[in-house]
């Protein structure tokens, strides 16, 4: 894979000298926490490896990563701790991998959540993306496997996608290290607050549910003025999610 062309940034001296330092498993003294989420088999672990320089095992079957893997990198004087979450299709059920992913985004309060999606299966992948955007408002979409999409003649309008989702979208082919420098820059911009996201909120919901969610969400906001995901908590309460009910009672959300 070394014979493949790199992006200009990666060949640029300044970039390499001042910018990126892969820190492997050394996750001490970090400035920002970055979560890596996404459907199974979208190349999350490959992105993780590209960022940290680690060689976490990757495999072409859904559910490869069942535990959290952690690594770190440094970019322009800031240290980022990267947490690779298990790949899941959704965050609505209660299997162990989905709980690990959801709880980290919810309680681990990452500074940035990078959602890795397969450009070839965007529609199916958006299911998870839209759920994550209800939980956190600091996210980056990494549109991975662009090389395969190109081969499959799929063209994606990046700007329109970014506008609809309300978060930055970075096209990438992590296997060939394409798009990784841009991804790092975007992560850093979101973490530092240079980019402010206005994440998409789920719209196509029946009126009565929307109304119920609004009432609950307002009450939750009153109680916890600083949380970004009162709407999502309302969803979970309506679902009867005991873990969230317990979390509310114990005040974890404060």
């Amino acid at each position: 894979m070394d014979v493949l062309p790199h992006s200009n940034c990666e060949n640029c001296e300044h970039f390499n000298a001042d910018g990126l330092k892969k820190l492997g498993v050394d996750t001490t003294d970090f400035d920002y926490i970055v979560a890596l989420a996404g459907n199974p088999n979208t190349g999350k672990s490959t992105v993780f490896n590209a960022l940290t320089g680690l060689r976490q095992h990757t495999g072409n079957w859904p559910g490869k990563t069942v535990t959290r893997a952690e690594g770190a990198f440094q970019y322009n004087e800031k240290k980022y701790k990267l947490v690779d979450l298990p790949g899941t299709y959704s965050l609505l059920s209660t299997s162990e991998d989905e709980e690990v992913a959801r709880n980290f985004i919810l309680f681990g309060k990452p500074d940035v959540t990078v959602i890795v999606v397969d450009a070839n299966r965007l529609e199916r992948n958006l299911n998870l993306v839209l759920q994550i955007l209800e939980i956190t408002d600091k996210a980056v979409l990494c549109l991975n496997l662009m090389d395969e999409a190109k081969r499959n003649n799929i063209e994606i309008n990046i700007r329109s996608l970014a506008k609809d989702l309300g978060i930055p979208v970075v096209p990438a082919s992590a296997r060939y290290k394409e798009g990784i420098p841009e991804l790092i820059q975007t992560i850093s911009d979101v973490a530092s607050g240079k980019i402010i996201c206005k994440p998409h909120r789920i719209k196509n919901i029946p009126k009565d549910i929307e109304e119920a969610v609004r009432i609950l969400s307002d009450k939750i906001k009153k109680e916890f003025p600083n949380i970004p995901n009162s709407r999502w908590i309302a969803f979970r309460l309506l679902e009867g999610d005991n873990q969230i009910i317990e979390a509310l009672e114990s005040g974890v959300f404060v």
Partner: protein, 473 residues
């Protein structure tokens, strides 16, 4: 934050939930899909829509077809086994040469130069060191071949197709289709297979997958199967057929394991773990050419060495125990001899003998050391003049030597077949047992998962022994 307000919110949520009805979950899911469809409508131009189907679909139609799916699966399994068995021979012999031929005498003379008492050098070198050396020599080469091969299949995208093919059988046996993936992992290492069950959503089906993972013949047990098949089963047919027949016997044991996996899954889902089979979406990922060298590298580092390290950690104390029970005497006999004596009766009943049973007890930490332990204990009991002395594990240089020791120990074709069966059907190794406990956090299920295979093993070997004695002898 006010506790009372929180309670009010939760009470309100309960009330609203009742009002909006049962369809909430489905409505929300549909809403999300509708949003996704709108966004994609704007953003994607798929020039493909009307074009001819992709190559992936063509491959899938063959490897997941009713006719070819199973034959292809079994041939791939057989091919992987064959490469592993054939390829592991040479590096195994090479490692054994170095670790036992060169390093061990060096350690011995080093101990002598420091004036170690005999029991200390015996305990450390003949006990602990030898056990570790055997595990490395016997286990490392097959793992270093098997895991990368398996990983290449994984990276290519074949495993989800296996799950797809087997889904129907799993559903019939009341288990989760993803168990096909964890079962395949088990062929490498049961502990790894047990950890992999985390991909199964429902606790009931996950427990079934954990309890039955042991029926996947793991790497540590392949060498035992291969050796015995070669000595005893390959020998009853003409020489030209012997390697095919012995490979067939080993393959048959592996398939028998799969059969028991389905059978026990079914039995559990009808009794202790009753419940609905859950449905799931299994995405068949696109085939991707594996990144060959990277795959080899990571699978050796990530899997082979980690699994090997665990085996070593458990083999060292086992080596010490073997040496101790053979060298500590109670009255006239060593502890090992006493235990063999007591186990002999029960052993005969199930077509085995006391030596084999004791070897399995001692080798709970690591299945790899079963054969060397059996040989060592056999020599101890028969008083043959080969090997290295009391409590020293060894493996004889040639298959013929091994055969003659085992035959002197009273082994017949029945013994060999039953040891092969028992090697498939016995308790998981201690690493796996510990992993099961960590994953289930339940003593009850851990005990069940450990005991159940042994009971099945006793029943099967007992039946085989009785039938054999009636019809063959």
């Amino acid at each position: 934050m006010d506790k009372k307000n929180i309670h009010n919110i939760i009470a309100l949520a309960n009330e609203l939930r009742w009002k909006i009805g049962d369809d909430f979950h489905d409505n929300l899911a549909e809403g999300i899909y509708a949003d996704a469809a709108e966004i994609v409508e704007d953003a994607i131009i798929d020039k493909n829509r009307d074009r001819k189907e992709r190559l992936d679909n063509k491959i899938d139609r063959i490897v997941t077809s009713r006719v070819w799916g199973f034959p292809i699966m079994f041939s791939i399994l057989a091919l992987v086994l064959w490469i592993t068995i054939k390829g592991a021979n040479y590096p195994s012999a090479f490692l054994a040469d170095i670790l036992l031929g060169d390093v061990r005498p060096m350690l011995k003379s080093f101990a002598a130069s420091l004036n170690f008492p005999w029991w200390l050098s015996g305990f450390l070198i003949d006990g602990v060191y030898l056990a570790v050396a055997w595990v490395i020599a016997v286990m490392l080469p097959p793992m270093a071949i098997f895991f990368p091969l398996f990983t290449l299949l994984e990276d290519f995208g074949y495993l989800p197709r296996v799950a797809f093919n087997l889904d129907y059988l799993f559903k019939k046996s009341g288990a989760h289709g993803k168990q096909a993936l964890t079962m395949s992992m088990g062929f490498g290492c049961n502990a790894a297979g047990v950890v992999a069950t985390r991909i199964i959503d429902s606790p009931r089906e996950r427990l079934i997958a954990i309890i039955t993972n042991n029926f996947s013949l793991c790497n540590g047990r392949w060498p035992t199967q291969i050796l015995l098949a070669t000595i005893f089963i390959g020998a009853v047919v003409p020489a030209s057929l012997s390697s095919i027949v012995s490979l067939g016997a080993v393959f048959g044991i592996a398939v028998l394991g799969i059969f028991f996996m389905f059978f026990v899954s079914w039995a559990l889902s009808k009794t202790l773990l009753k419940g609905e089979v859950s449905t799931f979406n299994l995405e068949l990922p696109p085939y991707r050419p594996p990144d060959f060298w990277r795959t080899i590298y990571t699978s050796i580092i990530d899997r082979t060495l980690i699994v090997l390290w665990r085996a070593i950690v458990f083999a060292a104390p086992a080596g010490a125990v073997i040496w101790l029970i053979s060298n500590l005497y109670i009255g006239e006999q060593s502890i090992a001899a006493w235990m063999i004596h007591y186990l002999d009766g029960f052993g005969f009943l199930i077509g085995l003998n006391g030596v084999i049973l004791l070897a399995y007890i001692v080798a709970i930490p690591a299945n790899e050391i079963v054969i060397p332990t059996i040989l060592m204990l056999t020599v101890l009991v028969t008083g043959l003049n080969v090997g290295e002395g009391a409590g020293v594990m060894f493996e004889l240089d040639s298959v013929n030597d091994t055969a003659s020791v085992l035959k002197a120990g009273g082994w017949t074709l029945l013994t060999a077949i039953n040891v092969m069966l028992f090697s498939l059907l016995h308790n998981p190794c201690s690493t796996t047992i510990y992993t099961i406990y960590k994953e289930t956090k339940s003593m009850k299920w851990t005990v069940l998962a450990s005991i159940l295979p042994v009971i099945i093993g006793f029943v099967v070997t007992f039946v085989v022994a009785q039938l054999w004695r009636i019809f063959v002898n």
